[in-house]
Every structure is written in structure tokens, then in C-alpha cells.
């Protein structure tokens, strides 16, 4: 008989192994079923509720043209909700969009499927829903949270808010957050966290106090669930005050009429660590986000333990949780566009699995949307992960000189520049980008350099080609130069040593600033001497090579074309891009203000700086760019970095960068 007190004891002596080579390995040689057949059977067996990418998705559609998304044209008279329109517009504005269904790998319905809707998909490309994705926000309510959409979705994927784990098909559906009609389409607000206050728990128990909306002390949890108007619905009437959320450290996010709730995003933005009490809710983007780093996943069944649980969380952990809420909010949630792009990127990562993001890329700064695995899947190739990996960027740079005027004399500024740059101890290679209409000069006309020197002839001769991610750049750092830039070897050396401390920023010489022109209600650009700056122009700046790739692939063709047509503003656009990634200002080095040979006007293009139109164009650019980014990403800085002994009263011989003092 059984004895409850009996316990396990290790057995001594000889025992057989669980697996014997003869038997189990020959098992594996089951020749009678071909792996191809097996795959075909799978796609036949596992459909509907058991759909997976392997069985319900046609990968071959993505092979020809890459990951392209097609949106069905809108039917006349079809009513589309604002939220759904935002989703469609975001897809159409993204780099994945194609107007040609023959090129598409993924299809999006233009019928409003966000709200529960009757739909009979008589669509020409429906193909039983294969490679279709259906966005849905509102189906499935209490008590059983069924997910009936009112029609047979066939092989289609669901991108759905408040989806339950039971109905969620892992690696096939995408769980998206529930967002309100007011959620901005693009840009999006930053999180509310402004201080990393210590101790951060001013009001740990905020939600326990009598005035809180969600309270578990007075009202039982069951009541909260049953009260359909309580807490998680109808955001406009019931919105928490910003301050109240901000002053709380933890916010309870219970389920309401639906599993997910608007509270979730509100709490996230407010840096109020969500305490999830919604058993069976597949959390938003759970496939890629490690929610343990930004939320407390509670269990409804252990409701009464929640107070002691959150109190047991150490303040170090709270500090990190709160920052992570902000990171995730700004990376994936603060606009409809980000939610949609994240959904598409998740699917793209499944389609190109060997070329997809690791969990670290998704869960650390600057987030997966800015960390493109098609550039590299190696973390060390990005400017963001050096510290996390305990490594350093490659200690040399590649100079790229953008040339638009023909070579006429040996005393031309570009000649001096080339020599000075090549002399830098950190220079690995010099690339001249020949964007001049005249044919390439003969090799011997260039000065001799000790480092490898190559000339690339720009194919289209457009200005954006200076930011192409050339394979010939062997280093992490790029020193970007205009042909008429004046820089000494010492200045190059110093800028590079500074960049090594800030590899994710633009570090360079020519600083500019932006300001809000309230009289004209628009952004202004200034090159005047000011006490602060927010841009460092790429006529003499060092930055990470990855930004070339981002510039070329992340930015929409419309902006790049605009820049190319004007042959202007490419440097401003680069600053917008980098600051939107880092949320930090660039870094200006040394006192140097004049970095150009005074405008000689050798050709019309060289003297673009003297052109009054040029300046007006730059004002326009600022506003066009801010419009596309949906916000002003530039950030001001009030300091510059000088050599430690700069202009100090000590013998010049003791100074390493003494040439920098001679302006």
C-alpha cells in the first residue's frame, strides 16, 4: 500500500540508460514517410484554430519580392472607423506597402474589421484567407470572451486586441493593444516619466487608497468584473487624471468587459507599472516583449496577495520597471503607426526567420523598429549594444568625402582635406564619393595617402547617395565630410576619441539649432551663434555606419526624394533620424565654428551655402520632416566637448591637442 510519508531515495547500483542507440536511433530512420509528405499532411491537418505559419501561410509569396503588404482598395460607400482608417493609412505609408497585389506577401482587408462586423469575404484574392491579416479591436467580451468575428476567417491571421490565450494561435496571431479613437496616428506622445526619483514609491499603495477608481479594498474583485462600466471601458468619460497615474507606482489592470483594457496603455505611458490581473489575456506583442521587465504579472486567483507582492519588490527593480514601461511605450505603443509597424515586423521576422531580431533587440533601446535585422543579426554591428555585450566599437573610422566640383587644382580644399584626414592615426580608409557631373579624374591626380583610398562614382549623383550603406566601409565609424570642409588631423583625431564614448550619437563640428517660431507657428532653423544647438551637420561629423542603413531603408522614399531634388537638407534629415532613435542631442566638439573654406563660388553647386534660397529651403525642410516624424525629435544641448586642457594656463607642450587652440 501507499505510505504518504514515503520519500524518494536515490537508487544505488547499475541502471539502464533511458535510450539505447540501437533501438532509438534506428527508430529515427523511418524511411517510409518522406519529410515532404509529412509537411503536406501538416498543412492539411492543422487549419482553423490550429493554424500555424507552417500550415496556413504561403511563404513562397514572400520570396519573389520580399515582405510586401497590399491593402485592398476601399469600396465606395463603405464606412470605415477612424481607428481602422489610421491603421490602413499607416500601412500605406510604410516601406512595406505595395499597390500591386501580385507583388504582395501579406494582404490587409479594407473592410472595417476593427469593430465586430458582418462580412462575407467575396474578395478576389481571398484564397481562403491565406496570407491575410485581419485587424480587430473589439470582439470577445465577458463572460466567455468568445472571438466570433461573424465570418469564417479561414487561413487568415488575426491581429487582435484582448485575445485570450486559449484562442491565441502562437506564432500565428498577433496580440495588439486596445487603443482608443484618440490614439495619435503618428508621432505619439512621450512617456510621462521625467525623473528617476529615488525612492520611487511615493504612493505604492495609491490604488489601495479610498479615492482610487480601481480599489480592491472596498469592492470585491468579482464586482469589478461584473460592473461593465467600471474601470476598463469608455476612456473619454472615465480617464484617470494624468497626475494620479503618474503619482502611482503600481496600477492595477484588471479585466473588464474585455480581457484587455485601455488602462493598460494609460498606465504604461504614465510609468505606472501595470499589475496585470487578467488571467488568460495574451499580453500585447507577447511574442517579442518580455513583459516581466515592465509589468507585474499577477494572478487573479491570488488577488489578496497582490499588496504584499508589490511591496516585496525592491526599489532597484521598481526603478528599472518604470524605465522599461517608457521604453516599451515609446518603442511600440505611442502611435497607431508603431502598433501597426510592430505587427508587420513581427510577421516579417517569422517569414525571414534566419534574419530576425533576437529578444535583446526587441527589449532594449532603441527597440525593434529601429533595429533592423536585414542590416545585420549581429548585435555588435549596431551602435546600441556595446555596453550590454561588454565590447567596444572598432577603433578606426572610414572617411567619406562628398565631391560635387571637378578637380581643377592641387590647392583645392578637398586635396588638403584628403591629406589631413588620411594622416589621422584612426583613419582606416578614405572614400571619395564622386557626385560631380564631370568624369572621374585620373588616379594620379589624387594625392598619395598611406591608407586605402577608393573613389566611388555616384550612380544617380543625388545627395542622398552620401548616406548609402556602402559595403566598402570596413569600420563602425564613418567620418562624413563635404568637399570644402576644413579640418586638421588633430581635429579629426579628437572628434574620433570623443565619438568612441558616444557611439550612438552624431559627434562633429558644425552645430546648428532649431526653435519654435511662435509668430509663424512653425519650426525655425538657425545657423547663428547660440548658447545651444540641436544639430551637428554631416559636413564634418562622425557617426555610426548603421545610420547610413537606417537613412536609406527606414526613411520613406518621399523624404529622400525631396532632399535629392533640392540637393539640400540631407544633413538635417540625418539629425532628425538619429535624434529620433537616441532621444538625445548630438555632440559638438571644440570651439571651431567656421568649418568651410570661405565661399569661393567655384561652381554653382559649391556655393549653395551662399544662396538665400538655400536657407529658406532649410526652414521648409524642418517643418516637412517634423510633420513626417509626427513630432520634433531634435533635442538641445548647452555644452560642447573640448580637450581636457583646452586653453588652460599650462605650457602648450603639455597639451596633446595643442593645434586645436589655434583657430
Amino acid at each position: 500500500g501507499y505510505h504518504p510519508g514515503a520519500r524518494w531515495r536515490r537508487l544505488q547500483g547499475y541502471l539502464q540508460s533511458f535510450s539505447t542507440f540501437e533501438k532509438d536511433r534506428s527508430d529515427d530512420l523511418s524511411e517510409h514517410i518522406s519529410p515532404r509528405q509529412k509537411r503536406d499532411t501538416n498543412s492539411f491537418l492543422y487549419t482553423g484554430k490550429r493554424c500555424r505559419m507552417e500550415s496556413c501561410f504561403d511563404f513562397s509569396l514572400c520570396e519573389r519580392n520580399g515582405f510586401k503588404v497590399y491593402v485592398y482598395p476601399q469600396q465606395k460607400g463603405e464606412k470605415i472607423s477612424e481607428s481602422y482608417q489610421n491603421i490602413l493609412t499607416s500601412i500605406e505609408g510604410s516601406r512595406f506597402y505595395t499597390p500591386d497585389p501580385a507583388q504582395a506577401c501579406l494582404f490587409v482587408l479594407s473592410l472595417d474589421t476593427l469593430d465586430r462586423d458582418q462580412l462575407s469575404p467575396h474578395l478576389p484574392l481571398w484564397n481562403e484567407g491565406k496570407n491575410h491579416i485581419i485587424f480587430n479591436l473589439y470582439s470577445g467580451t465577458w463572460p466567455d470572451y468568445t472571438e466570433d468575428l461573424g465570418f469564417d476567417i479561414g487561413f487568415a491571421m488575426l491581429a487582435k486586441a484582448s485575445i485570450s490565450t486559449e484562442n491565441f494561435r502562437p506564432q500565428f496571431d498577433v496580440s495588439i493593444p486596445l487603443f482608443s479613437k484618440e490614439h495619435p496616428r503618428t508621432g505619439g506622445e512621450r512617456g510621462y516619466l521625467r525623473h528617476n526619483t529615488i525612492p520611487p514609491y511615493r504612493n505604492v499603495l495609491r490604488f489601495m487608497e479610498p479615492k482610487g477608481k480601481i480599489r480592491i479594498s472596498k469592492r470585491s474583485f468579482a464586482e469589478i468584473i461584473e460592473d461593465q462600466h467600471c474601470s476598463s471601458e469608455s476612456p473619454p468619460t472615465d480617464k484617470y487624471s494624468e497626475e494620479m497615474l503618474y503619482n502611482s507606482t503600481f496600477c492595477l489592470v484588471p479585466r473588464g468587459r474585455r480581457l484587455g483594457s485601455f488602462r493598460f496603455l494609460e498606465a504604461l505611458q504614465a510609468a505606472c507599472v501595470p499589475v496585470m490581473l487578467s488571467n488568460g489575456w495574451e499580453l500585447p506583442f507577447s511574442e517579442i516583449i518580455d513583459w516581466n521587465t515592465a509589468a507585474v504579472i499577477g494572478d487573479e486567483r491570488l488577488l489578496l496577495q497582490i499588496p504584499s507582492t508589490v511591496r516585496s519588490i525592491h526599489q532597484d527593480k521598481i526603478l528599472s520597471l518604470r524605465q522599461q514601461t517608457q521604453l516599451l511605450w515609446e518603442a511600440y505603443f505611442n502611435s497607431v503607426e508603431k502598433i501597426v509597424l510592430t505587427t508587420l515586423e513581427i510577421i516579417q521576422d517569422r517569414v525571414l526567420e534566419h534574419n530576425s531580431r533576437s529578444s535583446l533587440m526587441w527589449n532594449s533601446l532603441p527597440g525593434g523598429l529601429f533595429t533592423l535585422p536585414r542590416y545585420s543579426t549581429h548585435l555588435g554591428d549596431f551602435p546600441f549594444f556595446y555596453a550590454k555585450l561588454g565590447i567596444k566599437p572598432y577603433p578606426k573610422f572610414t572617411a567619406i568625402i562628398h565631391v560635387v566640383t571637378p578637380l581643377v587644382s592641387q590647392s583645392q580644399p578637398v586635396m588638403k582635406l584628403l591629406v589631413a584626414v588620411a594622416k589621422s592615426q584612426y583613419c582606416a580608409q578614405v572614400i571619395v564619393l564622386w557626385n560631380c557631373d564631370k568624369p572621374l579624374p585620373a588616379k594620379h591626380r589624387w594625392p598619395a595617402t598611406s591608407v586605402p583610398f577608393i573613389v566611388i562614382e555616384g550612380e544617380s549623383k543625388v545627395i542622398s547617395s552620401r548616406f548609402l550603406p556602402y559595403d566598402t566601409i570596413p569600420t563602425d565609424a564613418v567620418l562624413s565630410l563635404d568637399e570644402d570642409t576644413v579640418l586638421s588631423t588633430t581635429e579629426v583625431d579628437f572628434a574620433f576619441t570623443v565619438w568612441q564614448s558616444f557611439p550612438d550619437r552624431i559627434v562633429g563640428y558644425p552645430a546648428r539649432s532649431h526653435f519654435w517660431d511662435s509668430s509663424k507657428e512653425r519650426w525655425g532653423y538657425t545657423s547663428k551663434w547660440t548658447n545651444d544647438y540641436s544639430m551637428v551637420l554631416t559636413g564634418a561629423a562622425i557617426y555610426h555606419k548603421y545610420y547610413h542603413y537606417l537613412y536609406t531603408t527606414y526613411l520613406p522614399a518621399s523624404l529622400r526624394t525631396m532632399v535629392d531634388q533640392m540637393s539640400n537638407c540631407e544633413d538635417i534629415l540625418m539629425n532628425f533620424l538619429v535624434s529620433s532613435v537616441t532621444k538625445l542631442p548630438p555632440i559638438k566638439v571644440t570651439q571651431k565654428k567656421q568649418y568651410k573654406e570661405t565661399m569661393m563660388g567655384q561652381s554653382s553647386r559649391a556655393s549653395r551655402w551662399a544662396d538665400p534660397d538655400h536657407f529658406a529651403q532649410r526652414q521648409t525642410c524642418m517643418n516637412k520632416f517634423a510633420n513626417w516624424f509626427g513630432t520634433m525629435p531634435l533635442v538641445h544641448s548647452q555644452m560642447r566637448l573640448d580637450p581636457v586642457l583646452f586653453k588652460d594656463q599650462v605650457s602648450i607642450l603639455r597639451k596633446k591637442y595643442r593645434e586645436i587652440e589655434r583657430l
Binding site: G5, R7, G13, F18, S19, T293, L302, S359, R640
Partner: protein, 724 residues
């Protein structure tokens, strides 16, 4: 506002900060009432449930001799109930009884292991052909030796049967299921965990154990996406017995003799043909091995592989290749994966729909390449596109995964339990870094506690903390000077003299911000870095009581720079550490150098969080050492911040003649040779405590944008910089 001087004597020296606000009395009563009700309920349930059992348990039975034949024999009646098949919709919140785990200050689940029994059917035939296997014995023994284990069945949260189901081939399915249902705590399989590595059987090889098991959790090798219940089951490796038999020393990551190696013997002929084609196209870069036809079957054959008559040692040969193919067989999970990882070879996994081992916590993208079976023919091209540096990282990562999670049944078992533990106590779960970073990365990487790029608003200002002993006159001058800084929010005077009282309130300079005095219990240097509750701002300016030469512009500018770098020390006098080759140790340098690696905290801005770290998290005995020697508290702070952020401090504004900034701690000690020697000793001492030299050397300092520019002074934000 006038000056308000407050005395809070001896408040801080004996206890830490009040971490949790006191509960209001009425709430306390409420909680006590609530607690009592819950407690009574628990006691009642406990009495009801466990009373009858406690009588039985007195008859303790143990397996003293430790032989399998001593285990009691249990005869299963043919009519014995059979559990239901596993429910695919099971999740932790539906099929797992979390109340059994309960709140637990250590956040650790308790695991009970059933005593060994031998189950036989009505005719006395055992339910398993092998009985308890060596591996399952190891697994259960490892768990019983771990912190998870409890022998108190009433307190257990998870139950592990001693019925060995690692290999489905050796089981009689129906009888095994009946045996499971006989377990006294089975209760529909609730909270029971089964370990299975070889699921399914011919002809179609199901990807999960076929034994009906009600709601039991399954730790299975070879799950497919259709059988794996995400967040409920645990995907585990198939243990390779070679792990224990063969010692493969770790090889340094780098290029190998072969690019791709295929060493599996049971590869379907369609795939083998495909591999042969790849080999024809790419030649020597590929090595395709098969079993040796001339060797007899058996354990020896497992250790040899052949190619065109040439014999190779397995698994040693795996170390000669950068990538190693792990193809599905009849089953998805392959023991070869373990061998490949052990060899530090990057696995190329071709097994569609396979759930990789421990994929819930391990980031396989950093250790392996997953290619759809369909794309086997493109394997070479895909692998060639991976940068060398990444291949090296993957090699290291692969080896680390094996060492930590694959190398023994103990590793596999405890990892499984830790994953379940993390689900039950998610707020105490192991982090991504803890799971995925090999020790060498854990050691060299930094995860700054202030990682969010934030430029805090100017408005809250900073709190100036002045450490003073008895230099009243100098102190008052410092107070007067600092009070002119626009962003000063509060002055906190740390009175470190126990023999003398601070001056009368009326004698203090009149300043426009609150001024508070705290008296300390002991004259310790670490008092300057205590996280006083009075510091309500993020920014702290630590300043000595004799630093009167800094201008208001310089201090305000320092604060502005700190706002741009809130995770760094931002200070005025800069210092450097150097390696003294002659002496073979570190040296402290205060001369005019082109480099900086420390800023003195005689005048420095920093985040209040670092006060907290200095007081409670300083490694080793550094804090006491500093207090005992009355020196080097600033060096210690520089070490601490650099170590946790991986960043250099920022020196602001040009060098000034500071009146002996090194020697303010002890009055009268001059900047002489012994002092410098002592500070060099500090650096060596701290470097050995930290186990590394965390300080970072930089060649820059921060100046205002228009510093030294030919520009109207009155238009500059910070005109008065650098005057001596």
C-alpha cells in the same frame, strides 16, 4: 523665504531610510481582520483535508537498501481508471492550482517526489521494459538535493512521479496511465510534472508523450508547435549520454577547418541527397558523415563516424566545424543538438514547427540558425551571409547553453523547475541577462540602472550637500556663494562634528532656499553620501566646505551638463589613474594631464541613486575601509559609478587652482607625498575588490557652447567661466 535651520540629530546613522510608509491605523485594523479571517479559513481547510492522512503517515517507509527490487510492488487492476488525454487548452491559470504554491518570501516553489514503486499489471508484467532509468534516477536525485525539494507532501506545490516516462518506447501506454492515476495526490494530474524526452512511436511519431495524463504538465523533448501548450508545458532537450562520457574542452571561438558538418546517422534519404548536392557545389567546406558500415552496432559505433572509408571520432569531430547540421528525424528533438552545443559548434536547426529546448527563456537566435526544411538547399548561402564576429558569438553562446542547461540531467531538471518557478513568481523571475549571458559577458557587460535616455527638467533644481566639521567661516562663505546659483533647491549641511554643536540658527547666512542641518553620530566620510530623505531632488551637488572658488555660472553650468548626463558624475577637478609599469600597479595622478578618469566629489553633481548605492551596495569592505582611513571616499564613488554604468565621468570647465581639494576631509593634512601614496593605494585596493579596473579614461571636458568665443558676454548663458 528666509532661512530655516533644522536639527535632526543622530537620525541617520543607525538605520536605513524608511522604505515603506506607515500604514494608517484604520487600514491596519482592516488588514488584521482580513488576515485573521483568511488564516482561520486556511486552518479549517487544512484540518479537513489533511487530518485522515496524518495518521497514515506515521508508518514511514523508506528504501533503506537503495535497490530497485526493494521498492513495493503495486498490482494494477485491469479496470483501474485511465486519465483523460492531455487537454490542449490547459494554461497555468486554468489547469494549475496556484494556491498550493502560495505566497512565499523566498519565491520558490516546493517540489515533492513520490517514492519509488514497481507497477505491474494483473499478470505481474511490469508497465515498463526498463523500469527506472539511470537518467531519471539522476534527475530525481538532483531535484531531491536542490532547494526546490520538500518531503512534506502537504506543503508541495509540484509533484513529480517516480514513474519513468523518459522514453515512450519502453512504456506500456495504457498501464502507465493507470499507474499515474493511482498516485495518491494525482487529483486529475493537477500540479504534476512528467519528464519525457523520446515521445511518440511508429509509424507517425507523435510529438508529445502519448500516455494519457489529465492535466499534468509535460516537460517534453521534441514538442511541435501543435502539441506544445505555450506557457504550460516546458520544452526540454533530449539528453545525450555522451555528455557524461566525453570530455570536450572548450575551444576558443573562431574559424574552423570545416564550414558545415553533418554528423547525424539517421537522416532521411531525401535530405541526405540534398546534402550531397550541397557538398558537390561547395566542396571541402562541407563534411558529410554517416555511420561506419564496417563497425558492429553498439555503444562503440556511437563514437565513430565515417566518410568514404575514413573514420572520425565522434563527437570530437564536431569541434572542427563552424556550423553543424541538426536535422529532424522521425522525431523533432535530437540528442545530436546536445553534442553539437557541447562542441561549441553553431547548430543549424532544420526541423519545422519544432519548439526549441527552453525556448521560453533562452534566446536561440544568438546561439543557432533556424532554417526551414524547405530551404535546406539554400543553407550554404544563408550561413555564408552571417558575419564572422556573429559566428564567434554564437559559438560561445552555444557552448554556454550546453554547460548551463544541457550538460546533465541535473541541469535539465533544475532548469525546468526554474522556468515553472518563474511563471508562478513572475515578479521574481530570472532576467533575460541571467538566462542568456555567459559568465564572460556577465562579467564585462554593464546594464546601467539609469538606462532610459532622459533629460530631466530644470525646474526641480539640485540639493547641495555640504560636509563640514568645524570650519564655520569657510562653510558660511560656501553657503553664501552656492545660494546664488539659480537652480539651487535646497542646502543640506552634514554636521560631522560630535563634540561641537552647530552655530545658533540666527548666525547662519540668510539664503533664499531651505537650509537644513543634519548631525551625524560618528565622524565618518561616508556620511556625505547617505541618501538622506531631505534630498528630494534627483540631482545632488556634493561640495566641500572650502570650495569657494566656483562661480555661480560654473555651478549652474555643471547642473545643466548633469541634466544631459544624469547617469554620470559631473564634476570640476579631474583626476587620472595610471598604470605604473615599474611597480606593476595603479598610480593616482593629479598633475595637469590630457586625460580624466575621475572627478573629485569635493565639487560634483550626481544622481541621488548613487548615494543609495554607495551606502547599501558598495562591494566588499570599501565603505568601512574609507571610513577607517578617512580618505578616498571620492575615488570609491568614482569606482562605483563607473562600474555600474560603464561610463566615464564628465569634467566641466577649465582647471582652477583649488585649494587642496584632496585634503578637505581631515583638516590640516597637507597635499604631501604620503597623501598621494595613500590615494594610489586606494585605487589598487578598490580595483582588487571590484575584481577589475572599472574607471574609463577620456580626453574631453565639457564647456559652454560659446566658451572663449568672441561674442558679447552679456548674450552668453554662462559668461563667468574659468576665471581664476
Amino acid at each position: 523665504r528666509g532661512a530655516s535651520v533644522m536639527y535632526a540629530s543622530g537620525k541617520y546613522s543607525s538605520r536605513g531610510p524608511a522604505l515603506i510608509p506607515r500604514m494608517k491605523t484604520k487600514h491596519r485594523i482592516y488588514y488584521i481582520a482580513l488576515f485573521s479571517v483568511v488564516l482561520l479559513g486556511l486552518i479549517a481547510t487544512g484540518m479537513f483535508q489533511f487530518w485522515p492522512h496524518s495518521i497514515e503517515s506515521s508508518a514511514e517507509w523508506t528504501l533503506e537498501k537503495g535497490s530497485v527490487h526493494d521498492a513495493p510492488l503495486i498490482r494494477l487492476p485491469a479496470s483501474s481508471p485511465i486519465p483523460e488525454r492531455g487537454d490542449l487548452s490547459c494554461r497555468m491559470h486554468t489547469c494549475f492550482d496556484v494556491y498550493r504554491c502560495g505566497y512565499n518570501p523566498k519565491n520558490k516553489i516546493k517540489v515533492y517526489i513520490y517514492a519509488l514503486q514497481r507497477f505491474v499489471d494483473e499478470f505481474g508484467v511490469p508497465i515498463s521494459s526498463t523500469g527506472l532509468s539511470r537518467e531519471y534516477n539522476d534527475l530525481l536525485s538532483a531535484i531531491s538535493d536542490s532547494d526546490f525539494y520538500t518531503d512534506d507532501v502537504t506543503r508541495a506545490c509540484l509533484f513529480i512521479p517516480s514513474i519513468d516516462v523518459l522514453n515512450q518506447n519502453s512504456l506500456r501506454i495504457r498501464e502507465t496511465a493507470q499507474a499515474l492515476a493511482m498516485l495518491p495526490r494525482w487529483d486529475k494530474g493537477m500540479n504534476h510534472l512528467l519528464f519525457n524526452m523520446l515521445p511518440g512511436g511508429p509509424p507517425d511519431y507523435n510529438t508529445a508523450l502519448d500516455v494519457p495524463r489529465d492535466r499534468a504538465l509535460l516537460a517534453g523533448g521534441g514538442f511541435s508547435t501543435w502539441t506544445y501548450r505555450q506557457g504550460y508545458d516546458v520544452s526540454i532537450p533530449v539528453y545525450s549520454p555522451l555528455s557524461a562520457d566525453v570530455l570536450l574542452p572548450e575551444r576558443h571561438p573562431g574559424p574552423r577547418r570545416y564550414f558545415i558538418l553533418s554528423s547525424q546517422t539517421a537522416i532521411h534519404r531525401e535530405y541526405r541527397a540534398e546534402l550531397e548536392r550541397l557538398k558537390e557545389e561547395n566542396g571541402e567546406a562541407l563534411l558529410l558523415l554517416d555511420k561506419c558500415s564496417n563497425l558492429s552496432q553498439g555503444a562503440a559505433s556511437a563514437r565513430k563516424r565515417c566518410c568514404k572509408g575514413q573514420v572520425y571520432d565522434y563527437p570530437q569531430i564536431l569541434q572542427e566545424s563552424s556550423f553543424c547540421v541538426v536535422l529532424r528525424g522521425a522525431r523533432l528533438g535530437q540528442a545530436a543538438l546536445s553534442d553539437v552545443l557541447q562542441a561549441g559548434c553553431v547548430p543549424v536547426i532544420l526541423a519545422d514547427s519544432y519548439i526549441l529546448p527552453f525556448s521560453e527563456v533562452l534566446d536561440w537566435k544568438r546561439a543557432s540558425v533556424v532554417i526551414p526544411e524547405e530551404k535546406l538547399s539554400e543553407m550554404y548561402t544563408i550561413l555564408k551571409s552571417i558575419p564572422h564576429r556573429q559566428v564567434e558569438e554564437m559559438q560561445r553562446q552555444a557552448r554556454w547553453f550546453w554547460e548551463a542547461y544541457f550538460s546533465s540531467m541535473k541541469a535539465i531538471g533544475l532548469t525546468t523547475l526554474q522556468i515553472i518557478n518563474d511563471r508562478i513568481y513572475p515578479y521574481a523571475a530570472r532576467t533575460y541577462e541571467q538566462w542568456n549571458n555567459p559568465p564572460v559577458v556577465k562579467w564585462s557587460s554593464v546594464n546601467s540602472p539609469l538606462f532610459l535616455p532622459l533629460i530631466p527638467p530644470r525646474a526641480p533644481g539640485f540639493t547641495a550637500v555640504v560636509l563640514t566639521y568645524d570650519r564655520i567661516e569657510s562653510l558660511f562663505r560656501v553657503i553664501t556663494e552656492i545660494s546664488k546659483v539659480p537652480s539651487l533647491a535646497k542646502l543640506l549641511i552634514v554636521w560631522n562634528n560630535q563634540n561641537k554643536s552647530p552655530p545658533e540658527e540666527s548666525l547662519w547666512p540668510k539664503v533664499g532656499v531651505p537650509l537644513k542641518v543634519v548631525r551625524t553620530k560618528e565622524n565618518k566620510l561616508s556620511n556625505r553620501f547617505f541618501p538622506y530623505d531631505e534630498i528630494e531632488t534627483e540631482a545632488v551637488l556634493a561640495i566641500d566646505d572650502d570650495i569657494i572658488m566656483l562661480t555661480s555660472d560654473e555651478l549652474q553650468f555643471g547642473y545643466e551638463v548633469w541634466r544631459e548626463f544624469p547617469d554620470r558624475l559631473v564634476g570640476y577637478p579631474g583626476r587620472l589613474h595610471l598604470w605604473d609599469h615599474e611597480m606593476g600597479k595603479w598610480k593616482y595622478e593629479s598633475e595637469w594631464t590630457n586625460e580624466v578618469s575621475m572627478v573629485l566629489t569635493g565639487a560634483a553633481f550626481y544622481h541621488k541613486y548613487f548615494n543609495y548605492l554607495y551606502t547599501y551596495k558598495m562591494p566588499g569592505d570599501i565603505k568601512n575601509w574609507v571610513d577607517a582611513h578617512m580618505n578616498c571616499e571620492d575615488i570609491a564613488m568614482n569606482f562605483l559609478v563607473a562600474n555600474i554604468t560603464g561610463k566615464a565621468p564628465i569634467k566641466v570647465t577649465p582647471r582652477k587652482k583649488f585649494k587642496c581639494p584632496e585634503c578637505t576631509a581631515i583638516d590640516g593634512l597637507s597635499l604631501d607625498q604620503t597623501h598621494m601614496v595613500e590615494r594610489s593605494e586606494c585605487i589598487n585596493k578598490f580595483a582588487s575588490v571590484f575584481g577589475t579596473m572599472p574607471l574609463k579614461v577620456v580626453e574631453h571636458r565639457a564647456d559652454p557652447v560659446l566658451y572663449k568665443d568672441d561674442f558679447p558676454e552679456k548674450l552668453k548663458s554662462f559668461p563667468n567661466i574659468g576665471s581664476l
